[in-house]
């Protein structure tokens, strides 16, 4: 005889049930035939001799039924009915099979079946969407690459390379007439003029004394170039850039100890640069290589 109440009395309340999972607010039942998943008197498959569930296997839904007549034959206890893939037809099937069964089980079976079909639909949709591929990283390889990167950074000497490239571009004249100080070109032009005027003067010595070669003193050169520099200042359209220039001037002084005065304007620095060019041009650049940056995160 099946004594449902006795069984429930034991496993439900007083003693141990291996399928029961207790949480603070609720008790769950881990039995695979449980229809709601909670540990209740009406949902416990062990303590109800007439019971039905819906279970899903590889996308196919089945209705499992247990009746008291088969309680003595555990191997044949659960009757398995395959449900149709059509939702409405399956619901009808459930109704047909569970006719005259208690309302609770019928209702819960249909609810469970609905939920299962919904999640099956969702699974099929997800497969069609993009799937994320996880690529494993090898620690050794990563650390090796990191080290190589650091070494490459040191070998690259980026600031120097960029500056060199920019100066080359300036020499080649890609900037056109924006920067007026190419004294190099000025010198070259002077030289050319010298050659020309020498050859000319040999021929036309007597005639042209008005065209005298003037060896211009450095101061004069500075002034003219200073004015050019001021012109360049005027080239800056937005006030931001002017501010930037002054701040830049300040900041570049940090970089190159050639200009040691603090807070000097760029024209002054240009002047100093010009004067110093007569003597020795030493460029110190304090490069703080951000190697440490790659280490601290």
């Amino acid at each position: 005889m099946q004594h449902d109440d006795v069984i429930w009395d034991i496993i439900g309340n007083k003693q141990f049930c291996s399928f029961k999972v207790k949480t603070k607010s609720q008790n769950f039942c881990r039995n695979e035939f449980n229809i709601t998943g909670l540990c209740n008197r009406s949902s416990c498959p062990l303590s109800n001799s007439q019971y039905a569930t819906i279970r899903e296997e590889k996308g196919q839904c089945f209705l499992y039924m247990k009746v008291i007549e088969r309680a003595a034959f555990p191997a044949r206890m659960w009757e398995k009915v395959k449900l149709s893939k059509n939702y409405e037809k399956a619901l009808e099937q459930i109704d047909q099979n569970l006719i005259y069964w208690p309302r609770f089980i019928r209702h819960k079976c249909k609810q469970r079946f609905t939920k299962i079909t919904q999640y099956l639909i969702r699974m099929r949709k997800l497969v069609l969407k993009r799937q994320r591929k996880l690529v494993p990283l090898s620690r050794k390889v990563e650390s090796r690459e990191k080290r190589k990167e650091e070494k490459a950074l040191i070998a690259a000497q980026l600031d120097n390379a960029i500056e060199k490239e920019l100066l080359e571009r300036l020499k080649q004249g890609t900037y056109g007439d924006i920067y007026n100080f190419p004294v190099h070109a000025f010198d070259k032009a002077l030289e050319q003029q010298d050659h020309e005027s020498e050859s000319e003067s040999e021929e036309e010595e007597a005639e042209e004394e008005v065209e005298q070669r003037e060896f211009v003193a450095e101061d004069e050169v500075e002034e003219s170039d200073l004015s050019d520099f001021e012109d360049m200042n005027k080239l800056k359209t937005s006030s931001d850039e002017e501010e930037q220039e002054s701040s830049e001037g300040e900041e570049q002084q940090e970089e190159s100890s050639d200009e040691e005065e603090a807070g000097a304007s760029t024209s002054k620095s240009a002047a100093r640069g010009r004067k110093r060019r007569a003597f020795v041009e030493i460029e110190y650049e304090r490069e703080v290589e951000p190697v440490s940056k790659s280490r601290d995160f």
């Binding site: 969407k129 993009r130 994320r132 390889v141 090796r144 690459e145 990191k146 190589k148 990167e149 070494k151 490459a152 950074l153 070998a155 690259a156 980026l158 600031d159 390379a161 960029i162 500056e163 490239e165 920019l166 100066l167 571009r169 300036l170 020499k171 900037y175 056109g176 924006i178 920067y179 100080f181 190419p182 004294v183 190099h184 080239l235 800056k236 359209t237 937005s238 931001d240 850039e241 930037q244 220039e245 701040s247 830049e248 900041e251 570049q252 940090e254 970089e255 190159s256 760029t266 620095s269 240009a270 640069g273 010009r274 060019r277 041009e281 460029e283 703080v288 951000p290 940056k293 790659s294």
Partner: protein, 357 residues
């Protein structure tokens, strides 16, 4: 072995240790009397003990001492001797150099990895006609013939967080005509035709892992090559020390350094086509892609010419390094795409002096 150079000092010590060594030998004999290898060694030691009053025979090596402490000490001494000798050699050379003055032979160039780089057969010769022809007709020819203006769409992988979002924003400020769009779970293959329809020339997808950008897919749009990079060392603007103010809207100039092989050239053109053809020199901004040992360093600077021989640069903008992982011929298609080049770690990392870009 270099042991012929070991001077007298070690011998003195060896005399002190002779007894110990004898003891050692006895112990070793006792322990491993059976194995032939050790027997040989012990024989050697017997011989050594007989002769070691003067010097070690050349077959002796520090690794044969069984006792770890003593082995270590002998090794340290060996190192010191070597260092001393090296120093003496250098001093001698320096003196000779100073003595010779002008007639001294030129200094030897130290070997660097760049010097020793294995010659790559795909290195581009600047005058190669075939390459010039190829570059005239490849997918970037439209850009280089000034037919199109670059329009860049920047997006991320799903659900970007923190740093990635800011990185994308800063990238968009650096590259003119760039727009950032939130991904919203769309498939790339569906985005691409939409982008083409709206006249975008580039699609940049920043991939994120654990809050940090770690990958970049750069896709040239009308059928162009797709490059997949690994991104590392991303520094956002506020993490850069001594930086200038934010970049303005002027188009920056582009510097591409050290791209020497065919593959490097393709990648360089890929980068070049990101920026508009006519830079605003007024803006004085320059974006640099510098290739060193297959790592591409990106920097964004503002420059100012102090005089015609000096220029000062100030870093703005984000900085990051890229490493090319794969180059694909068409647009992004990971399954059926035709890969022009894929990083194969085992083959390519085997030689330290061989680089691909």
């Amino acid at each position: 072995m270099d042991f012929n150079e070991v001077p007298v000092t070690s011998e003195r010590k060896s005399k002190k240790k002779k007894n110990k060594k004898a003891g050692n030998k006895r112990v070793s004999e006792a322990e491993n009397g059976e194995s032939a290898g050790v027997e040989k060694k012990s024989e050697e030691k017997i011989m050594e003990n007989g002769e070691s009053s003067a010097a070690f025979p050349p077959t002796f090596s520090v690794s044969e001492i069984k006792n770890k402490q003593r082995r270590h000490m002998m090794f340290m001494k060996l190192k010191q001797e070597k260092r001393k000798q090296k120093l003496q050699l250098r001093k001698k050379k320096k003196k000779e150099r100073a003595a010779l003055g002008d007639k001294a032979p030129p200094k030897e160039v130290p070997k660097t990895i760049e010097n020793q780089r294995v010659f790559d057969e795909t290195t581009v010769d600047p005058e190669d006609e075939e390459i010039a022809f190829d570059e005239g007709t490849d997918e970037f020819s439209a850009y280089f013939n000034r037919l199109t203006n670059p329009q860049v769409l920047i997006t991320t992988s799903d659900r970007p967080r923190g740093k990635t979002v800011r990185f994308c924003e800063q990238l968009a400020s650096v590259i003119p005509n760039a727009h950032v769009y939130y991904r919203r779970g769309l498939a790339l293959k569906k985005i691409i035709p939409q982008c083409v329809a709206r006249n975008f020339t580039y699609l940049m997808v920043v991939n994120e892992d654990r809050l940090v950008p770690n990958g970049l897919v750069l896709c040239h749009l009308p059928d162009g090559p797709t490059a997949h990079f690994k991104v590392s060392s991303v520094r956002l603007r506020k993490e850069i020390k001594r930086r200038g103010k934010d970049p303005t809207e002027h188009s920056p100039e582009v510097i591409l350094n050290n791209f020497s092989t065919r593959l490097g050239h393709t990648i360089a053109r890929l980068f070049a086509a990101l920026f508009p053809q006519d830079p605003n020199f007024v803006g004085r901004q320059v974006a640099t892609f510098h290739n060193q040992r297959d790592f591409i360093f990106f920097r964004f600077h503002r420059y100012i010419f102090k005089n015609e021989k000096k220029v000062g640069i100030q870093e703005l903008g984000p900085r990051f390094t890229l490493k090319l992982r794969s180059l694909q011929k068409g647009t992004f298609d990971s399954k059926y795409g035709e890969y022009e080049w894929v990083l194969k770690r085992h083959e390519m990392d085997a030689c330290r002096r061989k680089f691909q870009l």
